[in-house]
Amino acid sequence: MISSVFDYIRNSQVWNSIFRHGIPRDRRTRVMAVMSNVFLHLHPVAVRKSGIRLSFTWCMGGLTFFLFLAEAITGVLLMFYYRPVPERAFMDIIALRSHVTLGLLREIHRWGAHAMIIAIWLHMMRVFLTGSYKPPREFNWGVGVILLVITMLLSFTGYLLPWDQLAIWAITVGSNMGKATPGFGMQGPLTDFVKIGGIPFVTPRSDAAFILLAGTSVGENALLRFYVLHCIALPLAAAVLIAIHFWRIRKDGGISGPM
């Protein structure tokens, strides 16, 4: 009875218009399953057996990607409840805690972010320890390093958004470093020499920290700036680079193995 219903569905025009191959039972249909699916065809059709073993990759690249997706989904949902202005931000988080059904959004988003940092470090360590950055994968390693920086910046910008004590002071500690940039920060070495016609080029309102915070301290402009970076600019950049990263894995010959 049930199987005849399944058969009916699988033979329907609708099903066949979506999946252009039979059930992946034999070699031909399995190859088709990967090739005719836009997501699955990120993979090659066949891979080295040793390369996909859990003890080789630790699935850390995959987990990083999974966590990125989880962050994107929960992040969009969080945006429905959050306004990036000092008067509202903290109260919106409180409201999120008490009023939203199944209010795990913030938890998943926060712990997912921490987990993503750990996963990406371990992914990098495995790529290093298997020597997978060596030719022909030099460029993809570089793409990975940029992804690492973006991931840490995503976490850093997100840290400010709850607008509690932890948030603004952690960001203050971090962005104070900008003030010390040589030549570009007010307290940085050699900044005094950066003058044009005797007029200082770098002032408290134009130094590296100011550009980051849009202010001399962590205030409402910094909150807005971090919000836009966190929700739009950095995720977009990460998505593009992840696409390049995945494409290059295939083009570089799949997961590495001895030559």
């Binding site: 750990i118 390693w141 509690d164 070495p189 005094d192």
Partner: protein, 381 residues
């Protein structure tokens, strides 16, 4: 749920704390934890043996025993000390425990597989796992593994989120910084470096060099071996240096920054109360004082460049001359293989990285503050 767990543990932690039975142990661990003792201990008793005895300690039975000992020490300590319990179970510090366990397990897997491969290579046999060139179809072999990882990852993330609420402190108060003010945990290695370097080094140059060093790595590491399989014997220098940076100068310093740095960034042992009134006198001395005042027995020269000449000479030596010496002596083979440009790029990153342990050791032994002290230009190193 979490608070219940915490309360139970806290009560368990409070009771034995009164008993002096553990005091000797706690005092010993606290005393051993100060950076000038614990970092050399970790380096010489854990990091170096990790390489020397890697064929032995990675055996499953030995590794399991080491893991159990670590867990007893790490988690058992929660039962005997309330201060330790508080800091380790702080919601935002939970990821650090996960990172620690993650790094430990993955290092074991990597070293284990390297040990197996290196044994096979030494006997001239093909690599047991990576050496086989058999292919499998992505569907079903890979997609099923991926789905399993996805399901497992989702479950862990949701359970973690149910058990542990995301922390929220009191609303932001721009006038009232908490003490200590800490950056997010993944940057605490750099914040810990602030003890030894000024912000322009710890916050700008060092992270910049980490990124440029990582990106440059595939281009200056010209060793063709060890591409695509775990090995240590075929690329010992690369692995030792990289792990020194990642494990000791990054992960261990993060542990220091989160667990052992309290109010005013003072050091506290793991079983020590974070006393915000503790004042630690700063008695650090600049290299210029050492040379002019203590060495030559004369007052500091007025001209800042003359005054700081010893430090300037030293830094020029360390950054510009040392790489040349290395290229002519112990790294000669490497230099010949890499060529000048690659070697210069690698060596620059190497000596800057080396400056971190150097400055730490000089601080501990000679209370050295700065090599170069030029407050006139905000240029202190």
């Amino acid at each position: 749920m979490t608070s219940l767990l915490l309360n139970t543990l806290a009560m368990a932690g409070k009771a034995p704390m009164e008993s002096p039975a553990w005091d000797g142990f706690k005092n010993l661990v606290n005393a051993l934890s100060v950076p000038e003792v614990s970092l050399p201990l970790i380096f010489f008793l854990v990091f170096i043996p990790m390489f020397v005895f890697y064929k032995w300690w990675t055996k499953p039975a030995v590794a399991a025993l080491l893991g159990i000992v670590f867990c007893i020490f790490y988690f058992g300590s929660m039962l005997i000390d309330y201060d330790y319990l508080l800091i380790v179970t702080k919601a935002d510090n939970v990821p650090i425990t996960i990172m620690l366990v993650g790094v430990g397990v993955t290092l074991w897997v990597a070293f284990r597989r390297a040990a197996i491969n290196d044994t096979a290579l030494a006997q001239g046999k093909p690599l047991p796992v990576e050496g086989k060139d058999d292919k499998v179809l992505v569907w079903p072999d890979l997609v099923y593994t991926e789905m399993l990882c996805l399901i497992l990852g989702s479950i862990i993330l949701v359970v973690w989120s149910i058990l542990l609420r995301a922390p929220l402190e009191s609303p932001a108060n721009p006038l009232g910084p908490p003490n200590p003010s800490k950056a997010p945990w993944y940057f605490l290695g750099l914040q810990e470096m602030l003890v030894y370097f000024d912000p322009w080094m710890a916050g700008v140059i060092l992270p910049g060099m980490i990124v440029s060093g990582l990106i440059g790595m595939p281009y200056f590491d010209t060793n063709p071996k060890g591409n695509g399989y775990y090995t240590i014997k075929e690329r010992p220098f690369a692995i030792f240096t990289w792990l020194l940076g990642f494990i000791i100068l990054w992960v261990v310093l993060i542990i220091f920054g989160t667990f052992l740095r309290g109010p005013n960034w003072n050091f506290f042992g793991p079983y020590q109360y974070w006393d915000s009134h503790l004042s630690v006198p700063l008695t650090n001395i600049n290299l210029s004082d050492y040379v002019w005042v203590f060495g030559l027995k004369q007052p500091l020269p007025d001209n800042p460049f003359v005054r700081e000449m010893p430090g300037i000479i030293f830094v020029i030596f360390w950054v510009c001359v040392l790489p040349v010496i290395l290229a002519k002596t112990i790294m000669r083979k490497m230099y010949n293989q890499m060529g000048m440009l690659r070697f210069a790029y690698m060596a620059l990153h190497l000596v800057i990285m080396g400056m971190m342990p150097l400055k730490m050791v000089l601080r501990w032994v000679f209370t050295l503050k700065y090599f170069i002290y030029l407050p006139e230009f905000n240029l202190n190193l």
